[in-house]
């Protein structure tokens, strides 16, 4: 068990590309921390530096109270689960799981015992003598998990471990991984580009964009207080509506002249971006905002109304029992619905 600390860690690839700007954070012992962001934002780079598979250009990485920059991956006491599982194709499931232990000089009986335990935990007992090619995707995923568990590492590293599974299996494995990590109490870093995975699994989320950390926080914090328009748009489904507006004279005005209620401007003047989540508005005849519905999308539990507000794209989520029709309607805001961002930088205001 260990906490993980990155201190001004930076990565520049030999071709000169800066994949990660200097980043600093700590993951407390036993937490599952999700690194989330669009493809190419530097998630894998960060994870691979922690694993020791990639050199650190600048800064320090510590696992527990040991700086690991110059420590061999095999000596970091970590376990990694890869997107394509990275099982050894020529070894049986049992040998795949035991390989790391064997190299640490553990004796055969003990290895067999540990492998059996892990296999039991993951329902793999009957597959121990099979080769990876004789397993389904989900089973391979479990073997990869098993290989990580038997090592009893200080830290689990997951790089998009569920991306190759179908949606149903993905949901199931998500819950299983989460439960397993809780049970073992092992610190984990989990990389994904899927914000649903991030929101549902994480104790703490690190949102990355273009090689820099946009925000670190619990799922609730990230959802209710996105630090930038990037986080606002990336986290949450359907994504937050972002509208261009003007701040001045203590209020925020949409292009058509409608005033956005609740918006405190903190003395800010000029162009701003107003963020409103689709689920934070409700149709109401007394509402302050005009919304033109173009399309209605049925999702079962709820309905998404897509259309225009002040000439800009806007979506509203309404519960399934609420009537909806295309055309003009008025919207009222739930308390705390308005997020205000700087129009240039996208940083949160206030």
């Amino acid at each position: 068990m260990a906490q993980v600390t990155l201190n001004k860690v930076r990565k520049v690839y030999p071709n000169g590309a800066e994949a990660l700007e200097p980043s600093t954070f700590t993951i407390p012992d036993g937490e599952l921390c999700v690194l989330v962001g669009p493809s190419g934002c530097g998630k894998s780079t960060m994870l691979r530096m922690v694993a020791g598979l990639e050199d650190v250009t600048e800064g320090e990485i510590s696992i527990g109270d040991r700086v690991v920059n110059d420590i061999d991956p095999a000596d970091r006491n970590i376990a990694m689960v890869f997107q394509n599982y990275a099982l050894y194709p020529h070894m049986t499931v049992a040998r795949n799981m035991g390989y790391g232990l064997k190299n640490r000089g553990m004796d055969k009986g003990q290895i067999a015992e540990k492998v059996r335990e892990a296999a039991q935990m993951l329902n793999l007992t009957e597959f121990l003598d099979r080769k990876p090619s004789q397993l389904s995707g989900g089973q391979r995923q479990r073997v990869a998990m098993g290989r990580a568990i038997v090592r009893e590492p200080d830290l689990f590293l997951f790089d998009e471990p569920l991306s190759n599974l179908d949606a149903k299996l993905r949901n199931q494995m998500r819950i299983e991984i989460r439960a397993l990590q809780r049970r073992l109490g092992t610190t984990a870093m989990y990389v994904t580009h899927d914000q649903v995975e991030a929101m549902t699994m994480a104790d703490r989320i690190i949102v990355l964009s273009n090689g820099h950390i946009e925000q670190i926080g619990t799922p609730a914090e990230i959802y209710s207080n996105p630090a930038s328009t990037f986080v606002a748009a990336f986290m949450g489904a359907p994504p937050m509506n972002l509208l261009n507006a003007e701040a001045g004279q203590g209020r925020v005005t949409l292009p058509g002249g409608e005033i956005v209620p609740q918006a405190g401007v903190n003395g800010h003047a000029g162009a701003v971006t107003v963020g409103i989540r689709p689920e934070d508005v409700m149709p109401s005849p007394q509402g302050d905002l005009t919304f033109n519905v173009d399309i209605i999308e049925e999702l079962g539990a709820q309905r998404l109304l897509h259309g225009q507000m002040a000439g800009q794209a806007f979506s509203v989520a309404v519960p399934k029992d609420q009537e909806a029709a295309t055309g003009e309607m008025r919207l009222a805001l739930k308390p705390g619905a308005v997020h205000l961002f700087d129009a240039d930088e996208g940083r949160r205001l206030g």
């Binding site: 990694m80 194709p89 190299n103 290989r147």
Partner: protein, 293 residues
């Protein structure tokens, strides 16, 4: 998929005919003729032939020349195969570390393969040349008097060196693509599981290269046995003398230089059987070949 339909069976056969004719004229007919001649004793001056049964074959087992060539060929094949595979694997492993995915390097490295065996033999002969050869001079500076075509061991060493040198590129290319086909993440998983690079190589990389390796083993044995003819010929210049000869070259020397067509044919038949065995081994392996996916 659309199936090509021919109105009549005659047309496809007509299309195949040139190919079939070439195979028949240049392969089956000479092969059948060799089998036939191996049971006859030909008059060296072309005046008839006598049926001698298996005499030509028993004569082979008693011929010191043939036994010597057989022994040399076995050693030659083992050494050429071992060194050309070993060196190529070593180079491929080193290159793989540097050039993951860089195609230009691979093409450059492949060029040596485009050299025809006699040319490779010639270059080799030049390197080992008695008066001007670079290697001869280097050896002389160490006090060793290298005598190509005169000293049996020197000639053998030159043959082996040139043959190995000629075969390394093709092995290298296959090994390199084999190495690059191993997923990066599998190697990385192994890096986390095992500190020692050497032991990772033997535990993970080598077994995953085994299919490539076996395929190359057969290719290299065939190469050493047969395709080195040009190299041997350039080095011994048709003068067997006291020089080491491979079995294939012996066929040529005995048949065309010695005029012993019957004995030469018997030798060819022995080699044909060898090729047949190698082919069967290879096909059986390919059938059972494990596909890692």
């Amino acid at each position: 998929m659309k199936r090509a339909a021919f109105g009549h069976i005659g047309f496809p056969i007509l299309l195949l005919l040139p190919q079939l004719a070439i195979i028949a004229i240049f392969f089956y007919w000479p092969a059948a003729y060799a089998v036939e001649s191996s049971f006859y004793l030909q008059d060296p001056f072309g005046f008839g032939e006598t049926f001698v049964g298996f005499d030509n074959y028993t004569r082979l087992t008693n011929s010191t020349n043939y036994i010597n060539a057989l022994n040399f060929t076995v050693v030659f094949t083992l050494l050429v195969t071992f060194f050309s595979l070993g060196i190529a694997l070593l180079l491929a492993v080193k290159a793989d570390k540097v050039i993951r995915g860089a195609k230009t390097y691979r093409t450059l490295l492949m060029w040596v393969y485009a050299i025809a065996p006699p040319v490779a033999g010639l270059i080799g002969v030049m390197l080992f040349d008695q008066s001007r050869g670079t290697i001869t001079q280097v050896l002389a500076s160490f006090g060793y008097d290298f005598r190509l075509g005169v000293n049996y061991w020197d000639t053998a060493a030159a043959m082996i060196t040139v043959s190995v040198w000629k075969q390394i590129p093709v092995n290298f290319i296959f090994f390199l693509s084999g190495l690059q086909a191993i997923p990066r993440s599998v190697r990385e998983a192994a890096m986390i599981d095992n500190r020692s690079g050497t032991s990772r190589f033997w535990d993970i990389t080598f077994p995953l290269l085994a299919p490539t390796g076996f395929f190359l083993l057969i290719i290299n044995i065939t190469y050493s046995l047969f395709d080195t003819f040009g190299i041997v010929d350039t080095i011994v210049k048709g003068e067997p003398g006291n020089n080491p000869l491979t079995l294939v070259y012996r066929v040529y020397v005995d048949g065309f230089r010695g005029g012993d067509l019957g004995g030469s044919s018997a030798q060819s038949v022995v080699l044909m059987i060898l090729v047949l065995i190698l082919t069967i081994v290879q096909f059986r392996f390919l059938e059972r070949r494990i596909h890692y996916t």
